[in-house]
């Protein structure tokens, strides 16, 4: 068993002059940045920065090309069907809001309903809740199976002629299992219902294959894929985009405008008003190249080895209460685990772990209703990345023991 990851030295944060002792177990929140990505962004910012899509001079044409080649690169990465379209956004959150406001909202009425699951991130809950509230429509919540994935049978029963969209995560950011998204798309499409997949937690953990999934919309953020913040993606199947009005309005989205009216262009650019975040797109493209160079086979094996180890080690600690017991019937291993320590507040665990240079997330992880369902306020989440190793998990286990010793109290009745 190798004690350090072969790729750890690609991440400058672990260098001697920075945080050599850091044990980073919060990749589900944001991935640390490989030097390749930081270098590419630096190089662009220093030597190639210009406004894309609007200038006629070479520097600007080059920036445009970076964006448009980036679009192709992302399409390839997602194995997006040809004829589909990709929009660069500021992140998953904006991507989902675009679909809610521009694809679904125009069709809303009081009889309509929208189906999500009980394990959604607030980014894939609040936009739907709000358009339902505005139209007095119904937000339906598909339950989970005991194994922590969306219950497809139960979901199927929620779908009817008035369902406008099914919006679910590919992988929940609290439970970490891969949902049966292809099956759900089939169910929904049989009834003529569109499906959005929130891929924020899925993109870093295996080959996303949109052609196979068959969804109508797919969303993710660059920073969950070892890229930078401020850059995300919205995939839309076929000509969905051309039937949607633009969301944010600004420069570069019109064919013709007078003071009285505007005629919008018909291309993904309609959803990319104003100046493109080219440096963000450059970072995303470099991240995809970096990961492709490693090979997705090696990446998924690395993460699944670690994840087996993590699940096993936590199972050995009797004071660790996972939100959901790992179930051998689930085909996939989670890339993250959320749990509580018996009689210890998650907040204190995170602080104590921090004092030992271990970074985990504590709280409701932007999935408050899911925590309410489990009857808890908060949990600790440990999530994995390329730089992690068995050693990190060993350190986590020791620190959890310490935290338990230090803090555990018997709750009063």
């Amino acid at each position: 068993m190798a004690t350090t990851s072969a790729w750890k030295h690609d991440f400058p944060i672990f260098s001697a002059n920075a945080h050599p002792k850091l044990c980073y177990l919060d990749s589900a929140a944001t991935c640390l940045t490989p030097k390749h990505v930081a270098d590419a962004m630096y190089h662009y910012q220093c030597y190639s920065h210009a406004n894309s899509h609007k200038g006629l001079y070479q520097l600007s044409a080059n920036a445009t090309e970076l964006v448009e080649k980036g679009r192709n690169k992302v399409a390839e990465f997602l194995n997006a069907p040809t004829q589909s379209e990709l929009v660069f956004t500021s992140g998953t959150t904006e991507s989902i809001n675009i679909v809610a406001n521009c694809f679904v909202a125009p069709k809303m009425n009081r009889d309509a309903n929208i189906v999500i699951s009980s394990a959604e991130h607030h980014a894939n809950l609040l936009p739907w809740q709000e358009i339902c509230r505005l139209h007095d429509a119904e937000l339906r919540i598909a339950p989970l199976t005991l194994s922590g994935i969306i219950d497809t049978k139960a979901l199927d029963l929620l779908l009817d002629n008035n369902t406008l969209i099914v919006a679910i995560s590919h992988v929940s950011n609290v439970l970490g299992f891969i949902n049966p998204v292809a099956e759900i798309c089939q169910l929904a499409h049989k009834k003529g219902i569109a499906v959005l997949i929130d891929g924020a937690q899925a993109v870093a953990h295996g080959n996303v294959n949109i052609a196979e999934i068959g969804c109508d919309f797919y969303t993710f953020s660059a920073h969950k894929l070892y890229g930078p913040t401020g850059c995300g993606v919205l995939y839309a199947k076929g000509d969905h985009l051309s039937h949607m009005p633009p969301y944010i309005l600004g420069g570069g989205i019109i064919n013709k405008v007078t003071f009285q009216e505007a005629e919008y262009i018909n291309s993904p650019l309609k959803f990319e008003p104003g100046s493109h975040n080219v440096v963000g797109i450059v970072g995303l493209v470099e991240a995809i190249d970096y990961l492709n160079d490693i090979s997705w086979f090696d990446i998924t094996r690395h993460i699944s080895d670690l994840s087996t180890y993590l699940v096993d080690k936590l199972a050995d600690l009797d004071f660790v209460k996972p939100l959901l017991k790992h179930n051998c019937n689930v085909q996939s291993l989670p890339s993250l685990v959320s749990f509580q320590l018996e009689g210890v507040h998650a907040h204190d665990v995170a602080s104590l772990l921090d004092s030992e240079n271990i970074a985990v997330r504590a709280g409701h992880h932007c999935a408050q209703p899911l925590h309410q369902m489990f009857g808890v306020h908060s949990s600790i989440r440990s999530s994995l990345g390329l730089y992690n190793s068995y050693q990190d998990i060993d350190r986590l286990v020791i620190a959890l023991n310490n935290a338990y010793q230090l803090f555990a109290i018997r709750e009063l009745e």
Binding site: H345, A346, H347, D348, L352, A362, H377, N402
Partner: protein, 146 residues
């Protein structure tokens, strides 16, 4: 590892493990509930104010060690104090937590473990919560007076 160094000072851990006023049953005249969005701390502070004095003080809720210890110290500190003194009495520990305490520290020695918290800005709110909730409670006369 020196577990009692850093944020979790010995005194603080003592209060956390054996909190004063936690789940005490008292004759409530005033109470309030406060929450900390970031970590999900929730605390209810219950007070009995009679004859212009804090006669009894208790708290409950699901909260972290910092919040809990801070609440316990508060119960110790404010018990039997006259209402007229409360504003002054609260100022020292709250300023200490926020790192705004400028006077000589020895006058506040009993709170020395609270003074460390200013070095951990994310946890500041945890330590402040009981005190803020106490303030809400005593302003809650109209609704809560039994």
């Amino acid at each position: 590892m020196n577990t009692t160094a850093g944020l979790y000072q010995k005194v603080l851990l003592e209060h956390h493990k054996n909190p004063l006023g936690f789940h005490n049953k008292i004759a409530i005249t005033h109470s309030a509930t406060g929450a900390n969005v970031v970590c999900g701390d929730e605390i209810t502070v219950e007070v009995n104010i009679t004859a212009g004095k804090v006669q009894e003080l208790a708290f409950l809720g699901d909260s972290c060690a910092i919040c809990r210890a801070s609440a316990s110290m508060m119960c110790q500190h404010l018990l039997h104090q006259p209402l007229s003194q409360i504003a002054n009495l609260i100022k020292v520990p709250m300023d200490l937590i926020k790192g705004e305490y400028t006077a000589a520290v020895n006058s506040a020695e009993c709170f020395s473990s609270l003074a460390v918290i200013k070095q951990y800005p994310v946890r500041m709110q945890c330590a402040l919560l009981p005190w803020q909730t106490f303030i809400s409670a005593i302003n809650n006369k109209n609704e809560q007076r039994g």
